[in-house]
Symmetry: C2
Subunit: 323 residues, 2 copies
């Protein structure tokens, strides 16, 4: 089968591509061709069994998207997006890529007669906006507080409608914040959730800008890959017309994260966390969802991490494997 | 002040235009110019005090919309839409007018520096999709089951985001089914809700294609005009970032509607209703919302009809006034 990953150079896309190449199959069918599309070249290497083709381009260019869809991939993962901060800073770019780009993809599929691929779309918990109930249920309304969240929700509505119309077979998954992200610290407001685990484990100091009581909704990189693969292979009949779901995750406080780090890696690692309260980051984080009741996704077979300790242990294994 | 009604030739737009011309003011400020835009010419006549300008065109043409916005109307009512049945039959036309047309309007406003008009947008209860709770609350999620509903919800998301960004001051109102619609019977699946009142009052037989137990969410034409005027003049600060609301209405069964007709107009009118069950219409209507808890709109000062009897009496008065 042919698989296309739009956003194949990002952290989530790369993990997925690496996993598909290593497995050589998706849902029991051999993956013969894997196309990785992004604005920068993806790095995943192919094998004799799985040919990897790397392409770059702009999702807002319809001709580019038409060319990408012309070979009729059986499964399309649409992970590409202008992230929250950039979509807020650049109004036009956010709408052009996140809204028009997604629509270009759906329209390019619609333009191919008799073609009906599985489309897995990564949405975001940014479709929700404060004030929140104690746990956000599957039927809670979506009132985004960022342009990114609005664009992601528009993508959900389009995915649902194009699926209902029989144009494609869509599944939309709202990912939790991915922790522990590998790599260098970044300036995202959510960056410290990974940083307070990743940096101490690497023997480096980490800054904690919020209180220990701050609660957040997280999943490991491996869980994210698992969600994507399940979304690509699941029976979509039970979803009916409601194709988009909040993925299961762990609702943990910063204090619980730090305690888990101590339990897994010892108190000397915890000592590397420096508390430097930052009013700006505190304010941003205060508007984020803390907890979900993601029953529907769980019923549909999506599986969350078992514990935050497991998330830390998985990160340690990944780092050891990467040398 | 200058007022623009996009969709000024439709039933709701015409009622609003007539009301504004008669009142000569909106929120206590004199209306000096009223522009009525639609695909066909609007019929409302101006007065010495209120100049009415009638324009026709296509909302999906950005240059047309730019020209419409160039005089910087203080209040814009955006009522224009490809209706549910047509948007379902013509995929491209529905998205072109309902989604791209709405976006053209918001973008034309954004293109004018320092301009920040009140924009009243009519959404629809079609943003909701079955299965429903017993009464749909203000925080129930939006899962449209038609392309029209998806397009209306995308408009809501855009209106919210452009308002949050300070580009405009939007209020989105989800209208109930308008009963009693004046005029001839039409082929809309919901047409009988008006027909079983309107036709008997005119001494004509009416067909009832569903059971007496069918429950529906309705408001009078006068209430719809009242909602629009309140949305144009209310203080939007209490809305925060959640600019769109389900309007209050009456949840009444067909049996209750018929009993009210008997009470107001007598049993000989009721005798003109012929029960001719229609499986297709029954099926369509079964997927529609029956009841809402529209507390938020009520708290924000929107007022529903007091009773279905009042709705019938108002229709009788309108017909007498129209001769």
């Amino acid at each position: 089968m042919k698989v296309l990953i739009i956003g194949g150079a990002g952290m989530v896309g790369r993990n997925l591509a690496d996993t598909l190449v290593a497995a050589g199959q998706l849902g029991g069918k051999p993956v013969t061709e894997l196309v990785l599309f992004d604005v920068v070249p993806a790095v995943t290497q192919g094998t004799d069994a799985v040919a990897v083709r790397v392409e770059t381009g702009d999702l807002s260019d319809r001709a580019t998207v038409d060319a990408l869809i012309a070979p009729r991939p059986d499964v399309i993962f649409h992970l590409a997006a202008i992230v929250s901060g950039e979509a807020e800073a650049d109004f036009d770019k956010g709408y052009r890529i996140n809204m028009d780009g997604t629509r270009n993809l759906l329209e390019a599929i619609r333009a191919q007669p008799g073609y009906h691929p599985r489309v897995v779309y990564t949405s975001s918990i940014a479709v929700f906006g404060a004030p929140f109930p104690e746990a956000i249920g599957d039927e809670f309304f979506t009132t985004p507080m960022t342009s990114y969240g609005a664009q992601k929700m528009i993508g959900e509505l389009l995915l649902n409608d194009y699926s209902r119309r029989g144009i494609l077979d869509g599944v939309g998954i709202r990912l939790p914040t991915i922790v522990v992200r590998p790599g260098k610290p970044n300036k995202a407001a959510s960056g410290f959730f990974s940083g307070i685990i990743r940096e101490p484990l690497a023997g480096i100091e980490a800054v904690l800008p919020v209180d220990d009581s701050v609660r957040h909704w997280v999943a490991s990189p491996a869980s994210a890959t698992g969600f994507l693969i399940h979304a690509a292979t699941m029976d979509t009949a039970p979803l009916g017309a409601r194709r988009c779901m909040t993925m299961p995750g762990l609702s943990v406080t910063v204090g619980e994260m730090i305690a888990a780090l101590g339990e897994v890696a010892g108190p000397d690692k915890v000592a590397l966390i420096k508390r430097q309260p930052d009013a700006t980051i505190r304010g941003i984080v205060a508007g984020w969802p803390e907890n979900f009741d993601a029953s529907r996704a769980t019923e549909m077979g999506f599986v969350a991490d078992a514990s935050f300790q497991d998330i830390i242990r998985a990160h340690i294994r990944d780092m050891e494997a990467a040398g």
